[in-house]
């Protein structure tokens, strides 16, 4: 590798993965693609690497993570190198819309998110918003300023302040416990418990 050679970047951080780089055994997970398929990213296996997805991806234009390269790395089983990338995806589905082979790269990203979370990489906002849903039945915490305006507009109370809120929230919490979502992201979804 000389200073003159332009390195061909194939994904992840520019300094860690270039084509000349030797892939270490511990970076390689032969079951990775199958795991992605399990979480709904079935198209990962059939991607032809044309690169249309990168061309239409809004974030590929802004960051060093390119859709096509991420898919390639999934095919290669380079799990440890891509697990932080799927959060940089708007799930705008332009990749899917523009793929000649009908590959749904956005769903591969969603599958990668599932895997990342199960490996314990849980972004803060996932926890924060999930807690709001458990607590208020809504993804957003109430704001007094908004409530004042709602009164002026005679819009009635917010969902969390409606008479049947307790019953509805019990239902939400039941669902979240029934699917083990509370354990998955380490939150409490029991009615009386305060955090």
């Amino acid at each position: 590798m000389t200073g003159e050679t332009e390195q061909t970047f194939i994904g992840a951080s520019r300094t860690t993965v270039v084509e000349e780089k030797v892939i270490l055994d511990e970076e390689y997970d032969p079951g990775f693609a199958a795991e992605i398929v399990k979480y709904g990213g079935r198209d990962v296996k059939t991607c032809h690497q044309c690169g249309n997805c990168t061309g239409v991806c809004p974030y590929s234009l802004k960051t060093k993570y390119k859709t096509r390269n991420i898919i390639k790395m999934c095919q290669l089983g380079l799990k440890s190198l891509v697990l932080h990338t799927p959060w940089l995806c708007a799930t705008c589905y332009r990749c899917y819309e523009h793929c000649h082979e009908d590959i749904n790269a956005a769903e591969v990203m969603i599958a990668l998110r599932h895997i990342a979370i199960r490996e314990g990489n849980i972004p803060d906002f996932i926890v924060r918003v999930s807690k709001n849903v458990v607590k208020y039945g809504q993804s957003i915490s109430p704001s007094r300023e908004v409530e004042v305006l709602r009164e002026q507009l005679e819009l009635g109370p917010l969902p969390y302040a409606r008479p049947k809120h307790a019953k509805n929230n019990t239902e939400i919490q039941h669902i979240i416990r029934a699917t083990n979502y509370d354990e998955l992201i380490h939150i409490s979804a029991r009615p009386e418990e305060d955090e």
């Binding site: 809004p58 332009r94 899917y96 819309e97 993804s139």
Partner: protein, 307 residues
């Protein structure tokens, strides 16, 4: 068919004026679209969180809302692209008997069961179709129609230059819900024109506001960088206002611009825009809570009306 109004989380909790505007325009005296509130609806749930973290939880929470529509014999009318995609995709997934049965096992614990909307048959066996999910835009185009809307306009928003933002999940994935051609959408443009305003063409009209998929919460700078690109081309097109059918895109336009120097294009929801044209008093549209003031726009409209 009476629609069950699905307000979502963002509108009631951050932009209640959109709630007011939506009820105003669907009202008997205005566009007369029969709607009803279903107070027990909870978070759709938000796809950037639940569809990302656990699809089973996502589907069960969405199914709970769908069952409420089913029990009330309603189709669902959404005013948010996120709610629209989440509920629409869930209703579709629940057509798969395996998914439906798995989800119904979870729902059993809360005394609910999803079957879908019963459709008329010869009576021997019951048949069901997915609970129907409609975006406000579809209602305005198909149930009302631009012509009737135009007739109802009392304050045509003449001289306004509008940049329409459709938003990703109105357009895509078009496999799941094809409201219209995702590469040449025109419905919101048609509605804006029926209100008397002009729409402007701009680069990146079909691209993301920047905020989707959790990116706004996770890496705000990246979301804002995308927004900046869009705002720049909207500025270049000399638009007075951004009109969108999605409150989440609106939130992104409305807040990201605060950190972008020299740009200041107000963003308003399609409901508010149509309500203005139908004669709603701007005071009741809740623009107080917008970051980027809508008043310059309103002043332009008033000047136009005076001149």
């Amino acid at each position: 068919m009476t629609y069950g109004l699905f307000m979502g989380c963002l509108v009631p909790n951050r932009y209640p004026g959109i709630e007011w505007a939506t009820e105003y325009l669907l009202n008997k005296k205005q566009l007369n679209v029969p709607t009803e509130r279903i107070d027990d609806f909870t978070c759709c749930p938000v796809p950037g969180i639940f569809y990302s973290a656990d699809k089973d939880t996502w589907l069960a929470l969405a199914a709970r809302n769908l069952v409420l529509a089913q029990e009330n014999e309603k189709e669902i009318l959404t005013i948010c692209n996120g709610c629209y995609m989440s509920l629409h995709k869930a209703a579709e997934k629940l057509q798969d008997p395996k998914q439906r049965s798995k989800t119904n096992k979870v729902l059993k614990g809360v005394g609910k069961r999803y079957v879908g909307e019963e459709i008329p048959t010869d009576g021997r066996i019951k048949q069901y179709r997915p609970i129907q999910i409609k975006h406000l835009v579809e209602i305005l185009i198909h149930d009302v129609g631009p012509e009737k809307l135009e007739e109802k306009v009392v304050h045509p928003l003449t001289d306004l230059r509008v940049a329409v933002h459709y938003g990703c999940h109105y357009l895509r994935p078009s496999e799941n819900h094809q409201i219209e051609n995702p590469n040449r959408p025109r419905y919101i443009d048609d509605i804006v024109k029926a209100c008397g305003a002009k729409t402007v063409d701009y680069d990146e009209k079909l691209s993301c506001c920047g905020a989707g998929g959790g990116v706004r919460s996770h890496v705000k700078e990246l979301a804002d960088a995308l927004t900046e690109d869009k705002i720049k081309s909207i500025t270049k097109a000399r638009a007075d206002v951004i009109v969108t059918g999605c409150p989440f895109c609106l939130l992104q336009f409305d807040t990201a611009q605060s950190s972008l120097p020299g740009v200041n294009i107000p963003a308003i929801h399609l409901s508010s825009f149509v309500a203005l044209a139908l004669g709603a008093d701007p005071l009741f549209l809740g623009f107080d809570l917008h970051n980027i003031s809508v008043n310059p726009l309103l002043r332009k409209l008033r000047r136009g009306a005076i001149a």
